[in-house]
């Protein structure tokens, strides 16, 4: 079940082009992926706690996404539960501008 070479695994759309950004956009563009990274931002969570944080999402898909994120090297399973790796935290850093953008977006939306 443990795959290798995550960055270019065949099932990833856009990875045929060899452009890493495509593989990343594809991975992040799957349901719950962005959310999981977001919810783990402040520390590790157990699978159940993560599920609660993710609005009781189906454990099936959470497990699938966690496996993908682990294969990609963004998430790891420790004694404290699932947590972001160093790489995963770097990925989360790129969300910061996104967060600020979201705030601006929601405000200009009312008009």
């Amino acid at each position: 079940m443990a795959k290798q070479a995550p960055a270019t695994k065949p099932g990833v759309r856009g990875s045929r082009s060899g452009r890493p950004i495509m593989a990343l956009l594809d991975l992040l563009g799957r349901r719950w992926t962005l959310r999981i990274v977001w919810e783990l931002r402040e520390g590790a969570l157990t699978s159940r706690a993560l599920r609660t944080a993710c609005d009781e999402a189906s454990p099936t898909i959470l497990q699938t996404r966690l496996t993908e994120l682990r294969e990609a090297g963004f998430v790891e399973l420790t004694d404290d539960g699932y947590g972001l790796t160093v790489l995963g935290r770097e990925l989360f850093q790129t969300f910061t501008p996104l967060h600020r953008f979201a705030e601006r977006w929601s405000k200009q939306e009312g008009s």
Copy 2:
């Protein structure tokens, strides 16, 4: 078919919490959404050109995503085709660190 109040439209997962980032993560976490924004980064594309750029994705889903992105205020349809709005370009700006991250990610993956 035309909805209103995009930031808090009922179908958006995570928006019940009222946190804009959740609505944004949900929108961006749908298939082809990230990719579309990415492909429009250098200028407007016609629907067919966008489809080609998106690896011949189904026009059905592209049209759905384009509608969502237009309702969100990120994309607009002009004489040149679909293009990013000012807001959409701001959103794309947040991808820049993601792009650089993707490059680093693909390199450390081989080990």
